[in-house]
């Protein structure tokens, strides 16, 4: 569904990406794991078009595109909620930027809020709720991009362990119920084991795919089952080698 072909990018003569290719099947959850500073953020910048690439082509549903601007949802480590909008308005922001909100939009957002356990907080402001709730609201906003594709840039790394577990479950909901194709970047192998259909391990400078893993078992998985623990060791080892 999404095809990245031969992306390359130099920063001051230093190759961050060279000849990087990756294909995402429809409705798949691909997790990129790599050492910090390996160029994952640069890849996202190139995909979104906020930084121009030196070479490479991009295809979405077989059609070539310059970048994914306006074509993909986005969620970052920080919740990036606007403090002057209520939670429900924040979630609907991608719609609000395009057109006037209707009562149907609000109804849909209310439904989504109840599956994200945010019911009753629709009219609260971001600074009045916990970090986990704010991040769930950011997840709702990712849905309202209404794009088939979602780019998640370490969305779980700023929350505590308990919140993290519930957010993982909700990310799966985003994929399965709303049929999104998801590309997520993380440095937490457990996130990858729990969520991914495919785990891609990356190396540093230039960023390259060193190994790919397909974790077994239907989701939601239990990352402490022996097979997955085995896989985790394997991934950690190949991460070490990639450095």
């Amino acid at each position: 569904m999404l095809e990245i072909r031969h992306f390359s990018k130099d920063f001051n003569g230093l190759p961050v990406l060279s000849n990087f290719s990756l294909a995402l099947p429809r409705n798949s959850f691909t997790v990129l794991v790599g050492p910090s500073g390996c160029g994952k953020s640069t890849l996202f910048d190139l995909l979104m078009g906020s930084v121009s690439r030196d070479g490479g082509r991009l295809f979405l549903f077989g059609a070539e595109l310059p970048d994914l601007r306006g074509e993909a949802g986005y969620m970052a480590q920080k919740d990036l909620l606007l403090p002057w909008l209520s939670l429900i308005q924040n979630a609907l922001l991608p719609v609000m930027v395009k057109r006037k909100l209707t009562s149907d939009d609000y109804k849909e957002a209310k439904n989504l809020f109840s599956s994200l356990e945010l019911s009753g907080f629709e009219n609260h402001y971001p600074q009045q709720v916990s970090g986990g709730m704010a991040q769930r609201c950011a997840l709702a906003r990712t849905y309202f991009f209404r794009a088939p594709l979602a780019l998640l840039d370490e969305p779980l790394s700023a929350v505590d362990a308990l919140t993290r577990q519930s957010l993982r479950t909700m990310l799966l909901l985003l994929q399965s119920r709303f049929e999104k194709t998801i590309l997520m970047v993380t440095h937490d192998v457990d996130d990858a084991l729990f969520l991914a259909d495919r785990i891609v391990v990356l190396s540093r400078s230039p960023m390259m795919v060193t190994q790919e893993f397909i974790p077994e078992g239907k989701k939601p998985r239990n990352p402490s089952n022996t097979e997955l623990l085995h896989l985790k060791e394997h991934i950690l080892r190949s991460l070490q080698e990639g450095r």
């Binding site: 906020s50 994914l68 306006g70 922001l93 009045q128």
Partner: protein
């Protein structure tokens, strides 16, 4: 309660000391009038004083409106185009290095003794702080949010409306608050240089006749105008920059 009591007590004791000093030392009222004399004058000459105060207030208000009308589009344009910013910011800074007193006589020559030259004087004084703080506010916007709006495919106009403008509002109000307190300076200087009405005019006339009490009465009224404008801006800010207040509230609750 004590929060208000202390400044009130301090002000009151200052006025009382002043009064006592004037009476005990028998200072002539054309050197330093006692507060009671000023208060009585404020009451007896109220119609005259208010008439001139109204003129000055009008000049200040119009000056604020004009400077905002120029500062808003200019700061947005400079934010949108770094080239324009680079081109204009030395000019803006240089224009501020010119003391307004120096141009005041020129403005009177160009725009006459009437309201025009005073409005322009007030506007000139306000224009710079508002433009600069607003530009600073736009530029302080978190790059994470800018990226979010970029991915959403929002153009500059939409991003301005939903992100940059609300983001810069606290800065805007900070600039405006400074601006309204100095706007009075511009208007009064304009009146000093040449005018037929206004508190500045009244002050010049009174000073020439050693009516120092009248000068003080004008000063009191000017302070009142400044305080009223300040209060007005604070009220607007409380209304439109609610999220800052919310944060404060939460922090005190914890």
């Amino acid at each position: 309660m004590t929060g208000r009591l202390i400044p009130a007590a301090a002000t009151l004791s200052f006025v009382l000391c002043w009064e006592a000093f004037c009476r005990l030392q028998e200072i002539p009222h054309f050197i330093l009038p006692a507060p009671s004399r000023i208060a009585i004058l404020l009451l007896t000459e109220a119609p005259l004083l208010l008439k001139h105060a109204a003129v000055t207030t009008f000049e200040i208000a119009l000056g604020i409106v004009f400077s905002l009308a120029a500062a808003l589009p200019l700061s947005i344009a400079m934010f949108f185009s770094p080239l324009l910013e680079r081109a204009l910011s030395p000019l803006l800074i240089a224009s501020q290095a010119i003391p307004v007193f120096a141009v005041a006589p020129l403005l009177v020559v160009w725009f006459g003794y009437g309201t025009g030259s005073k409005v322009i004087m007030a506007a000139l004084i306000i224009f710079f702080p508002v433009t600069v703080t607003l530009l600073q506010g736009f530029k302080s916007c978190d790059p994470g949010y800018q990226r979010l709006f970029f991915v959403m495919g929002a153009d500059f106009r939409k991003t301005l409306r939903f992100l940059y403008w609300p983001w810069a509002l606290p800065y805007f109000f900070a600039g405006l608050r400074v601006a309204v307190s100095v706007a009075a300076i511009g208007a009064v200087i304009g009146e000093w240089v040449g005018s037929l009405e206004g508190l500045g005019y009244l002050m010049m006339q009174a000073n020439a006749r050693l009516r120092v009490d009248m000068v003080f009465a004008c000063v009191v009224l000017l302070s009142c105008i400044g305080l009223l404008l300040w209060g007005g801006v604070s009220r607007l800010e409380a209304r439109y920059v609610r999220w800052n207040q919310d944060t404060k509230e939460i922090q005190t609750n914890k």
